[in-house]
């Protein structure tokens, strides 16, 4: 199964800079982009424009911006955690402003970590390590 990164981000500048940071950190996974919370949920639950997708194939990680049009990041996270299929998908929150309350809300909904924008390669390398540990613990493979 392909290890897909679902990047949920509405700002085009941030999308480019994040993709650039991934490339510089030698992260070559396929990146699927969702421009708002609603599109992210469509992808995750194989609905809307992603209706034909196999919902069993959940992403390797969801990089989730918090401030999104239509449905915001925390709501996306809540719905992910409320559904059996997406309950254990690792989530990394992207935030411009490390607000204590938001971070703790995120952790209480089981995120792996948060990344402060602009994302740099050092932060990403650390995330990769944590994700590998997570997946080893969950499945013993991947």
């Amino acid at each position: 199964m392909e290890k897909i990164i679902l990047l949920v981000e509405d700002d085009p500048g941030d999308v480019e800079l994040t993709k650039r940071a991934l490339k510089r950190a030698s992260i070559t996974n396929k990146v699927v982009l969702a421009g708002d919370g609603s599109e992210a949920l469509d992808y995750l639950f194989a609905a809307g424009k992603y209706a034909g997708r196999n919902a069993e194939e959940t992403p390797y990680v969801v990089m989730l911006d918090l401030k999104l049009p239509k449905i915001d990041g925390l709501e996306v996270l809540r719905r992910m955690r409320a559904d059996e299929r997406t309950k254990s998908v690792p989530v990394v929150i992207l935030t411009a402003h490390a607000n204590g309350q938001t971070i703790s809300n995120g952790y209480s909904l089981g995120i792996v970590s948060y990344l402060k924008k602009p994302i740099d390669t050092e932060q990403l390398s650390e995330i990769v390590r944590q994700l590998e540990k997570h997946w080893m613990a969950v499945t013993g493979k991947r």
Binding site: D11, G13, D14, E16, L17, R20, K67, A96, H97, K117, P118
Partner: protein
């Protein structure tokens, strides 16, 4: 009805007081019953049409309440507008700034070989400006926060807090010989986080503006003035020209060029807001090249 009752009273009284002067007067009045009735009615009607003193006060108070409600609504609206302005500054403006800085950095990295020194310098200036803007926005966000957030008061040893702040400044610049004296027992009931910010600003300024001098001395103490406790932070650094005293605490007004001393120009405005939120006041005295003393009271 009332006049009939009054008449009865008169007649009885007249009977009782027949032989007195009052009795004579009342007899006369009883005889002129029609006139007395008319006068009583007129009096009664007059009293009915006049607003009593209580009603006047009630009406005034209602009008004041209406005016107060209107002002409260206007204030709530202005606060709401300031909140969204504050949010805009701290969030919405950051995204484009990130792009300016991020893509300039990308250009510097990708085109390193193709750019000459001046071209690289230009891109560095773009990055530096973005960085400065981010710094100003961070300060503005603090200014908004300090204006709006609720105060959580507790007993704080301000002297000990100042020692820790100076300690931090020393760690960042171990080479500098700075003498710091803090008075013992400087306790006050304050919002800890806000006062830490105020002291960081004041002590940070003293630290910054004494760096041109070989050996520096910073003091934190208190004095009695007109029965009030006045705290002061004194340094023997660059000081300031008292002619510009009025600009000292105004936002974005700086008394030194960025070349001489860096800074966004909000530190003292934030500090003043913090002191004012504690019902205190802050002022300063200084002399160019001789140092400055910042005084403040707390409620």
């Amino acid at each position: 009805m009332a006049s009939i009752i009054m008449l009865n009273v008169f007649i009885r009284l007249a009977g009782l007081l027949e032989r007195t002067e009052t009795g004579v007067i009342l007899n006369t009045l009883a005889g002129r019953a029609d006139l007395v009735s008319a006068m009583l009615w007129l009096l009664f009607l007059r009293l009915l049409s006049m607003p009593g003193p209580d009603e006047k006060i009630i009406k005034q108070s209602e009008e004041l309440q209406k005016a107060l409600d209107k002002k409260t609504a206007e204030l709530a609206k202005a606060n709401g507008e300031m909140e969204s302005l504050g949010y805009s500054i701290t969030h919405d403006l950051r995204a484009p700034l990130r792009a300016i800085d991020g893509f300039s950095a990308a250009l510097l990295e990708d085109c390193a070989g193709k750019l000459d020194k001046e071209e690289k310098g230009n891109l560095e200036m773009v990055r530096a400006s973005a960085s400065r803007m981010t710094s100003i926005m961070d300060s503005l966000a603090v200014f908004f926060r300090v204006t709006r957030s609720a105060l959580k008061k507790e007993n704080v040893d301000l002297g000990a807090m100042a020692e820790r702040i100076i300690g931090g400044l020393r760690d960042a610049q171990p080479g500098r010989p700075v003498e710091f004296l803090a008075e013992k027992g400087l306790e006050a009931s304050v919002d800890r986080d806000m006062l830490r910010l105020a002291l960081e600003n004041l002590l940070g300024n003293s630290w910054k503006f004494t760096r041109g001098h070989a050996a520096a001395r910073i003091e934190f103490g208190s004095a009695e003035k007109d029965g009030r406790k006045v705290y002061f932070i004194r340094d023997d650094g660059a000081g300031f020209d008292m002619n510009y005293k009025a600009k000292l605490f105004a936002p974005f007004q700086r008394l030194h060029s960025t070349r001489e001393f860096e800074g966004a120009g909000l530190g003292l405005a934030i500090t003043r807001r913090i002191i004012e939120r504690h019902d205190g006041s802050i002022w300063a005295e200084g002399e160019a090249e001789k140092g400055a003393t910042f005084y403040f009271t707390l409620g």
